[in-house]
Symmetry: D4
Subunit: 161 residues, 8 copies
Amino acid sequence: MGSKSDLRTMSAASDVLRQFGIPFEITLVSPHRTPHRMVEYAENARKRGLRVLIAGGGGAAHLPGMVAAFTTLPVIGVPINSTLSIQGLDSILSMIQMPTGVPVATVGVDSAANAAVLATQMLAINNARLTDALEKYRITLKDRVMRTIEELRKGGFQDDV
Amino acid sequence: MGSKSDLRTMSAASDVLRQFGIPFEITLVSPHRTPHRMVEYAENARKRGLRVLIAGGGGAAHLPGMVAAFTTLPVIGVPINSTLSIQGLDSILSMIQMPTGVPVATVGVDSAANAAVLATQMLAINNARLTDALEKYRITLKDRVMRTIEELRKGGFQDDV
Amino acid sequence: MGSKSDLRTMSAASDVLRQFGIPFEITLVSPHRTPHRMVEYAENARKRGLRVLIAGGGGAAHLPGMVAAFTTLPVIGVPINSTLSIQGLDSILSMIQMPTGVPVATVGVDSAANAAVLATQMLAINNARLTDALEKYRITLKDRVMRTIEELRKGGFQDDV
Amino acid sequence: MGSKSDLRTMSAASDVLRQFGIPFEITLVSPHRTPHRMVEYAENARKRGLRVLIAGGGGAAHLPGMVAAFTTLPVIGVPINSTLSIQGLDSILSMIQMPTGVPVATVGVDSAANAAVLATQMLAINNARLTDALEKYRITLKDRVMRTIEELRKGGFQDDV
Amino acid sequence: MGSKSDLRTMSAASDVLRQFGIPFEITLVSPHRTPHRMVEYAENARKRGLRVLIAGGGGAAHLPGMVAAFTTLPVIGVPINSTLSIQGLDSILSMIQMPTGVPVATVGVDSAANAAVLATQMLAINNARLTDALEKYRITLKDRVMRTIEELRKGGFQDDV
Amino acid sequence: MGSKSDLRTMSAASDVLRQFGIPFEITLVSPHRTPHRMVEYAENARKRGLRVLIAGGGGAAHLPGMVAAFTTLPVIGVPINSTLSIQGLDSILSMIQMPTGVPVATVGVDSAANAAVLATQMLAINNARLTDALEKYRITLKDRVMRTIEELRKGGFQDDV
Amino acid sequence: MGSKSDLRTMSAASDVLRQFGIPFEITLVSPHRTPHRMVEYAENARKRGLRVLIAGGGGAAHLPGMVAAFTTLPVIGVPINSTLSIQGLDSILSMIQMPTGVPVATVGVDSAANAAVLATQMLAINNARLTDALEKYRITLKDRVMRTIEELRKGGFQDDV
Amino acid sequence: MGSKSDLRTMSAASDVLRQFGIPFEITLVSPHRTPHRMVEYAENARKRGLRVLIAGGGGAAHLPGMVAAFTTLPVIGVPINSTLSIQGLDSILSMIQMPTGVPVATVGVDSAANAAVLATQMLAINNARLTDALEKYRITLKDRVMRTIEELRKGGFQDDV
């Protein structure tokens, strides 16, 4: 995260990672206010055992792209629709339009949960337990929709002709 | 890819994957014209040994998001700026704004090469050879910039005060 | 509908259809969380006697376009301006920019009522009762405007020079 | 169509309708230059036996919306990206954001062919021949994709790992 | 105005016209719900002695453009940012992008007051009293700014180095 | 006009004014490069007998708005889509979003002809000859559409069912 | 500032300048309501000893660009997201897209504080005290981030794996 | 500059600086491909005697913002409309929307010349020679407009009523 105000949005990522039993750390790294911390953080990430980085930011959201410049780990960007944002569109474009060789895997506006799911999918490439967990998670998503349909039906919701 | 016209854009991904020595397949799967093929392709992808999927598309680019709905493999989306696109912005928004649980790792407009680099980064998480290859690739990118500086300097380009 | 939160918007369609005496069903079908249900729903729609499909969605709204891929019934799309939407513009573009052969009849942001009117217009093509009902509905719309003018005039509203 | 220059775009609709054996007429009706012609055309459309109207327009594209105001037939709008258009976005918004009661079924930018497919789908609601024709058309679309895959494969295109 | 909800925005125009002593009428004319009333209103406007028309509208705001099609009086358009608007941008584009020969004099989003000032300027072309009134109005605008500066200065506002 | 490159766009206005027999002058006034000339031009416009001002500009198009600040004559703005423009949208917004009291009558992108028609409409408010001329001009527009229909019909164009 | 309502946004600039010990004045200058005051203010700015100008504005924000036309002092523009703004995007484009020779140094939406920091950086070019102050300010920004990290860590915030 | 392809755009800045007799250097610094070079370049800029930095970039243009994070010199950003840009709007937003404390003075799309003029204005704050040069430059701009008027007048261009 680039600032404390991003915490509310980004904590959704922690919830998902915890649910998948994936150890993680969450910290503040501001590309513009603590740029050296960002360089060090990104450069040491792989050595320290980190395997995927999730970086959120609002406005001119340089954090994911700059972190990506200092590491070859996959970097996931979360555009944050902060107070001064232009509907989050400024951050989407700041993250997504990277030059050849240094991609940022960008997810939707404020979609920190999805960033965590994507990170899990990356880690699951060679991890049977996570692959299983993801399949189960999908079933949960589906079951939740099906349960909602049941509830609506009971509540007099007109489901069938 | 969703259509043959996307081939020109997407072949940049093949070039990068070949360079990294990563086996891959490239094929046409249209979400709207061959929807069953898409369902089967996505559902069987993991079983068939695929580990990352790259899906490009223009206009209402549903391919990456729908493929992601039928697999838990990571899916990378490449918005393609085709003739009828609105600057590729329609495809960016069609890909990036996915609901919670089913992310698409979206890269820049027409950035098929970056999709391939991102796929390589994902595969490199547990692969020392690819990690090394990525580090070398980065050095190549840097060297190319440095060489350009040299050339410009020789060509009378004013580099220093 | 793709999610329960869309119900508030989409129920306006039910009100209109009920008013026209058109039998209908309303249910949840998530393209990303219940993709197989979506395939089945769309594929069986014609056989089950459905004649027009209305599909709403927010963000990367793939439901109408993907339903259209699995049926040749006319599909009407309703872009929903949900919390994370970019003014509904992301959903408009996700729905409207379909490839040749698989159209979605897209209506305005949150315009579920209009989707139902459009469905009624389609059904009225060969239905004298519905054609009459539509003509009467139009007169109602007009009368409501004329009554408002009367009220404003009585309220001291300056209507004429 | 609102102007002669729209003919090039709109003729794609004729091709599709001819293919489906649907009788049609195509003419110029300018909402701003021949407004009375537009009123008459729209008001008499149903009596004259027309069953669906397709209206294209660029810029401030009022034709579909205004035609819809004078008839209860379904009206399909085709935003045209003309020289002075803002990427066709001005026409999309001019067509799609209609008030309650008077919908326009809007398709993608320059998607006249899709407007014709949508019209066919509407007419097919109560027409077994057209329903069959639409199913066959879909198979054609699919076959064309499959044939392209074959051709690419023969051409040395790397289709499988 | 196209609907009663526009009244709150458009009444600012009445205030300005009253201030300039210009007789006016304000009424509802919906291009889509009372299209014949619109045609008649626009066609008779000049004969009835109206000299400038101000038309406001939200969403696909066809009123000003269609009124302009039925009269050669100058028509001023006021884009209204209603609930379902896309920041008023949909209405700006619906009004401003008119075809050659049928202009709409478009003012800013919700700028009904400015529409009235513009109407006054048009009427003042051959009217010395209104020309004077406009000059005085400008002085009032200036004086109000100057008075605000005075007040801020008294309130400890730091005006000078 | 703000620059010589605008001449090609703006000369369409001259053609229309000449056609209506309205005397006019056309000159360069750059708000940023000849700001004093702009102030003088705008301030003296009424005294010199000018009755309507048409001002075109690209990019940050301040000319119409600033001219309007120095005169109470009606000012018509023409957004010009120059090389560095963002589809003319930057100029539309620069012109249209004026503060209360100082309106600019904005027309479509590159619509200099329409600016001239609008100016004619303003002058016609108290001018029977111009009113007649405008009515005839409208008939011409209509006739041109009708003639095109004839031509297309002769050319084998399918006009009727 | 162009209007009193901008004061709330622009006062953030005063706070920053006071903090750096830079004498300043803040006043209202409306480009459209007090255009002569604007001309005089801009023309006399250098003579009066001003060295950098900060100009904020909403909507069609002409103040910075027009002030820049009447002085060769550097002018910093602050786009203000006022009630009628289109997300501040109208003001960004009104300020940034200046013609060659008359630049405006534009900062982010509502970023008055940043305008003041930028002004300080300009003044610091030849001022050792301000250069020092800026370096210290940066350290403060960094320290604030580091302190937040400490606080979050104490509050049970999971900072490390 | 971030890449060699930016050279064509950025060289306009060299021309202006040369014209003002301001010594400068122009070099390639890619924030993503040579990130350490960028850090060093920005950190040493002040010590090496640089006084203003101009940074151009296309797409997700992080160069100006990141350079600004590593120096307290004023940084001017030039959004470049490269092949894959979204009309330069992506780069404008990437540059302009900086967090408090680290501004980028952003100029228009491809406006490298204006970046150089702005740099000259900053340097002129305490430099009488440059102040004079800027005043003369403005007169040149004005004279060029006036000369164009003369030429147009001679060429039969209708300048006066």
